[in-house]
Symmetry: C2
Subunit: 250 residues, 2 copies
């Protein structure tokens, strides 16, 4: 595989406390392409904020779909509980991203959304959104675009995982996270992982031991560096990898 070491220097990262600071609604919406007028309108209907503490549920599978959530700060996972009790992680969601899209075609949430750290979201009641979209149709159009982009991004990655080995899967996962941090204005080289090895494994279709081994291997190969190894779900990863021909990562 074409993973290449890009940088080898160690930066001082002692100042990094959380992966994400707090996002204003404006910051959430600008990258998405909404104009000032649309943001103003959205601000009116999305004024309600909610705090979710670590391990808390934002919504549960089966509950009625009522709102989308813009993540102002924090980190979430979405997961489904299979009949045998095992849980399957279906995605990770960071500050600045939209949550709740899983329900958009079914009127019902298809998965649980769980906070991986103390988080704050901005609630966007979907009924109001639809109502206002009658006068400003472009609003709904934007949301559908965001939705499809998010789903397609994930979908594309998942499809490619099928043909990858454990190390490549992990690299893909880290690169994906990295890019999403960059989009939100954070360093692409230093960020915190808020999820456990088991959660990563569940998402990537690997066992936690395999994920751990892959981390160790990437570190041995000097591709990543991990501080605070043994901090539970809070280790800091310095990404120093890049796909040689980065066409296969979205």
């Amino acid at each position: 595989m074409s993973l290449q070491t890009l940088l080898n220097s160690h930066h001082d990262i002692s100042h990094i406390k959380s992966s994400c600071a707090t996002c204003s609604l404006r910051e959430l919406c600008l990258p998405v392409g909404l104009n000032e007028e649309e943001i103003r309108v959205l601000g009116d209907i999305a004024s309600h904020k909610r705090k979710i503490s670590r391990s808390g549920y934002l919504y549960r599978a089966g509950s009625k779909f009522q709102s989308l959530f813009a993540i102002r700060s924090g980190f979430f996972k979405t997961c489904i509980l299979e009949q045998d009790g095992r849980q399957q992680v279906t995605g990770f969601h960071m500050t600045g991203e939209l949550l709740g899209l899983d329900a958009i075609s079914t009127e019902m949430h298809t998965c649980d959304a769980v906070a991986l750290e103390d988080s704050e979201v901005c609630e966007i009641p979907f009924a109001k959104l639809e109502e206002i979209s009658r006068t400003i149709p472009s609003l709904m159009h934007h949301f559908h675009k965001i939705m499809s982009r998010e789903i397609v991004r994930d979908h594309g990655v998942m499809l490619l995982l099928g043909s990858m080995k454990a190390e490549e899967r992990l690299a893909t996962f880290l690169l994906n996270l990295s890019r999403r941090f960059v989009m939100r204005g954070y360093s692409e080289y230093n960020f915190n992982l808020r999820m456990t090895r088991e959660e990563i494994g569940s998402y990537l279709g690997l066992k936690l031991e395999t994920v751990s081994r892959a981390f160790s291997k990437l570190q041995d190969e000097n591709i990543i560096t991990i501080d605070n190894k043994h901090v539970q779900i809070n280790d800091i990863v310095r990404l120093k990898i890049k796909m040689g021909n980065s066409t296969c990562i979205t």
Copy 2:
């Protein structure tokens, strides 16, 4: 695993020539929830039909997104060509389904669409659709719903594959196909596979030999029966399986 034999009888399937007959636009749209007025309007802009013969391209990755396509008859695969020349199948699409959604967030097709048998599609120019949606907003709304439903359906399946063994993946795949045939009004027990073992494998993240072995195993276990084994991409599968607690298949 909770696969259970449901039926064991052999039906006469000699009359089954193709997996699908030809669909009218009305048939395409009704299950989707469009009303008469909307179908009439859609009919006006979607009058142009195109025939694609086996192995022909409906569109290619990188080409400009201009139209959605409703499949009137036939069977397609979508696939992406990786930089190393291998091709990755990203989906299969049957009569009555909508094709071209891969491009909806990018203005550009992200994959190739190839006919697996002689097929006919109905072209829906997206610009016209958007134009008309200004007067009938519900139309676009419907399309977004269809879109998200299709994407989510696939996405859900793919996510679950990660934790499955080869046999389970194949069973999931066959059940998925089966349900889609049912939705189009065909038997859920008898249908044709238009794709090769290699294409199935690519889609499921397996090698063709593994797919073949999984087919044999399912047959040994009396879960499926295959006629015309050696017909190239045309073998007839009699599905006799059902998940015990079918919550994990979407």
